[in-house]
């Protein structure tokens, strides 16, 4: 909305956000979203049981002391790539019959600067955003503070982004 009056510097976005973007044009009642809750639930269990959310596993990864995390991320990418290829190749549609849409990401310097900053935070907290939610679920309630701080970081980014190199 506001983007139209200014130069578009929201590089994440076609109109909104290349990550987590909602390509669907359909409107559904709220309870249709429960299926995403279920996917998230299963995903969270995998996170915990594979110890992806463990601060210790992240430290091992960044010290090259274990193959575990590399195996997980690598095989996840392999399965993801194959799935995306199959979806494109066979023009698979959503359960609502909509064609599945992909969009490309454009490069900007934020991927370098922001990427490095996130890497620092990842090694400190031992968590990327997803594991933060799962860690709280496992009973590490203090991680609520880490999550609130991450939300504050996102908010400050939104506040100062026009002044940052992109």
């Amino acid at each position: 909305m506001q983007e139209k009056t200014t130069v578009n510097t929201d590089f994440e976005v076609r109109s909104l956000d290349t990550i987590c973007v909602n390509e669907s044009g359909l409107e559904h009642r709220w309870y249709h979203n429960l299926k995403y809750l279920l996917v998230g639930l299963l995903f969270g269990i995998v996170f915990v049981k594979s110890e992806v959310i463990s601060w210790f596993r992240i430290q091992e990864m960044f010290r090259l002391q274990s193959f575990h995390m590399y195996g997980i991320i690598g095989s996840a990418i392999a399965v993801g790539m194959l799935s995306v290829w199959l979806i494109k190749r066979f023009k698979i549609k959503t359960i609502y019959g909509e064609p599945i849409v992909f969009h490309s990401k454009s490069f900007n310097k934020g991927q370098v600067y922001g990427g490095l900053l996130f890497g620092f935070g990842w090694a400190l907290t031992g968590a990327c955003p997803g594991p933060l939610f799962a860690q709280i679920g496992t009973g590490a309630t203090v991680v609520v503070i880490t999550l609130l701080s991450a939300i504050a970081g996102t908010w400050i980014y939104g506040l100062v982004r026009e002044r940052l190199p992109h």
């Binding site: 392999a78 990427g115 400190l124 679920g137």
Partner: protein, 187 residues
């Protein structure tokens, strides 16, 4: 069976399951896998404060908040019903190094010696939890995604900017874990 599930899952089970999230979300409703945007949606919903970056229809993205709520509940379920009864096993060199910083408890997935309410107001705890969390939120949004959105979804869709981002995530992590974190843990 349940005893079997309670063991830590190997990478070749967990990795493909995480990868399957990509097609599942696409097929369920054209949703691109990504998690860090949930933080942006929370800002847009709770405190947009007339900042242009938070002026959009977050209600259209509410699926993402259901998804992360699910991750939270998944954490509860796994900890309550599927918990591994044994302490987490880590590389002896890391255990050795951490013992030097007074980290000796391995009962939780997060080290209770440094990440706990008790240590929150120490300099070390503040750096790890508050400063670390801030960098996660600021960095992921600046980079336009996190491990899920760039490393998994972006690379699955063969996006080279996501490769750049992923390399920078790892570079930042290596620098922090090997060069800066030892100083912080010595505090």
């Amino acid at each position: 069976m349940i005893e079997y599930i309670k063991q830590p899952w190997p990478w070749y089970v967990a990795g493909p399951l995480i990868g399957l999230t990509v097609p599942v979300l696409l097929i369920l409703g054209n949703k691109s896998f990504g998690i860090s945007s949930s933080l942006r949606h929370i800002c847009a919903a709770c405190l947009p404060a007339k900042i242009p970056f938070f002026q959009y229809n977050w209600r259209k993205e509410v699926w993402n908040l259901f998804f992360v709520s699910g991750i939270f509940i998944g954490g509860i379920v796994a900890a309550q019903f599927l918990a591994n009864p044994h302490a987490i096993a880590i590389h002896p060199r890391l255990a050795n190094e951490l013992a030097g910083y007074g980290i000796t408890h391995y009962n939780n997935l997060v080290p209770e010696d440094i990440i706990s309410w008790r240590s929150l107001l120490t300099l070390k705890g503040f750096m790890l939890m508050v400063a670390g969390g801030f960098l996660v939120g600021f960095g992921t949004r600046y980079a336009g995604g996190c491990t899920s959105g760039h490393a998994i979804m972006g690379l699955s869709n063969l996006q080279w900017p996501s490769l750049v981002a992923t390399i920078c995530f790892m570079t930042g992590g290596f620098i922090m874990a090997n060069l800066i974190l030892p100083v912080i843990l010595s505090l």
